[in-house]
């Protein structure tokens, strides 16, 4: 076992310190160390998107990031998507459109959609499908997920920027 390293990072807006072994993935530390179990392990090799988090503004698979790599960096997980006012419009639209069945892939999709809107607030259906192609869902056939994301874009467009 290698020596554990003290890591300081910002997670969902809060300063966090934790110890990590270099071989531990960010996903493992989030789930087993920090009790942030919203990011899910589906494959542990970057093929399903269930562990998606936003690292310094970029959507990444937390299974393909070493925990020690986030030293000094800023992270948003599914737990940080909803604001103090309530659910984020993406989350609300997922509920309204029945865009989840088992719900296991759902955090990854919502985090991915959040990252999409940060870059492209008005995506087309094809752009949504392209962006979400790194997220696997086995329950829904993607139909209702794509609809929810498109509708969320509409909904966000109607909200004054400062309230999002």
């Amino acid at each position: 076992m290698s020596k554990k390293v003290l890591i300081q990072a910002t997670i969902n807006g809060e300063e966090v310190e934790f110890l990590a072994e270099p071989r531990q993935s960010l996903l493992e530390v989030l789930r087993e160390g920090l009790s942030l179990t919203g990011a899910k392990e589906g494959c542990n090799n970057g093929n399903c998107g269930a562990c998606n988090v936003i690292l310094d503004g970029a959507l990444v698979n937390s299974c393909l990031v070493l925990a020690v790599e986030i030293q000094g960096r800023s992270l948003t997980t599914i737990e940080g998507i909803a604001g103090p006012q309530g659910l984020h419009p993406i989350q609300q639209k997922f509920l309204e459109h029945a865009a989840l069945q088992c719900g296991y892939c759902t955090p990854g999709f919502i985090v991915a959609a959040k990252a999409l809107f940060d870059q492209n607030p008005n995506p087309t259906e094809q752009e949504v499908r392209y962006w979400l192609a790194g997220n696997l869902c086995r329950c829904t056939g993607y139909d209702k997920i794509v609809r929810a994301v498109l509708d969320a874009a509409q909904a966000i467009g109607k909200i004054p920027v400062e309230e999002i």
Binding site: S2, V5, P22, S25, G46, L55, V60, N61, E69, G134
Partner: protein
């Protein structure tokens, strides 16, 4: 996963001294999308992982109309795709890099990593070949330059010697009447490894009627990404025509020496080599003519 130490370095000199001071089982980490999977599956061993993405020279994109493109080895696929100069002048590279994984992978994976991973099916390498890229390799003995088509030596193997690393990839400045395209065949529309990939770069005469020079490269049909010089030699000087392109595609097919594996059979790959070579050439010509 086996235990290893991790260190993030900030400068070339720091990296060089670390590499020269250690021996064996050192892996450089950029985006980690290949490395972490390989470590986890025990396919590679590391005692020390050196994170190189904070070295500014390795993280830089610089474009100059006279010098061409400087692409630091750790620049992510996403940054490559978003860069307006690369979009304008190196379309084949954008085609290829945009195909590597989903958004999550593109945000982490680097073009340099794709090259160093040396997969026969690497998407970036055929595209870099058609853009005539040159790799800048740094080691304790200094720098050397390696043409991209000579960089890989076998599946997973490169010309890098112990203590050496890939600093950057340089692409020559854009030429007049040049067009390039890379495409691959995958059974799905995303999240796949190329069954076959094909890249073409063509330079036409000023009338855009004849090939001045052509560079064709294939992926996943040989132990390394395959530069098919014969196809280019055949087309050089010829009038652009469907027949000539089809003939060149057959030359590419003849050069392909694929294997049977889980992603495709020899027959399928041979057959696709011609189809994709033709399509790559056609699109490259269209681009050279400013039609797309």
């Amino acid at each position: 996963m086996q235990a290893f130490d991790y260190i993030a370095v900030r400068s070339i000199s720091e990296l060089c001294s670390l590499l020269s001071g250690q021996n064996g089982q050192i892996k450089l980490l950029s985006g980690g999308t290949d490395l972490l999977v390989q470590l986890r599956e025990g396919r590679v061993k590391a005692r020390l992982v050196i994170d190189v993405k904070y070295i500014s020279e390795m993280a830089e994109i610089a474009y100059d109309p006279k010098q061409g493109l400087y692409l630091g080895a750790t620049v992510s696929c996403h940054r490559v795709c978003q860069d307006p100069h690369i979009q304008a002048h190196y379309p084949g590279l954008v085609d290829a890099v945009a195909l590597i994984g989903g958004i999550q992978i593109q945000n982490r994976a680097s073009v340099g990593g794709n090259v160093c991973n040396a997969s026969p099916a690497a998407d970036a390498i055929p595209a870099l070949i058609v853009h005539e890229a040159v790799c800048q390799v740094v080691g304790s003995k200094g720098q050397r330059q390696v043409p991209i088509e000579s960089f890989c030596t076998a599946p997973g193997k490169t010309v890098l010697e112990a203590g050496e690393f890939l600093l950057s990839i340089q692409l020559p400045p854009p030429r007049q009447n040049f067009g390039a395209h890379y495409l691959r065949f995958i059974p799905r529309n995303e999240m796949d490894i190329a069954v076959v990939g094909a890249g073409a770069g063509v330079t036409l005469d000023n009338a855009r009627e004849r090939f001045v020079s052509v560079c064709l490269a294939l992926g996943a049909v040989a132990p390394i990404p395959l530069y098919v010089g014969e196809a280019g030699a055949f087309l050089a000087g010829k009038r652009v025509s469907g027949e000539a392109i089809a003939e060149a595609a057959l030359i590419a097919q003849a050069a392909a020496q694929p294997i049977d594996d889980l992603r495709g059979s020899i027959e399928q790959r041979k057959y696709l080599s011609a189809v994709l070579a033709r399509r790559a050439l056609e699109k490259a010509v269209q681009r050279a003519r400013g039609e797309t």
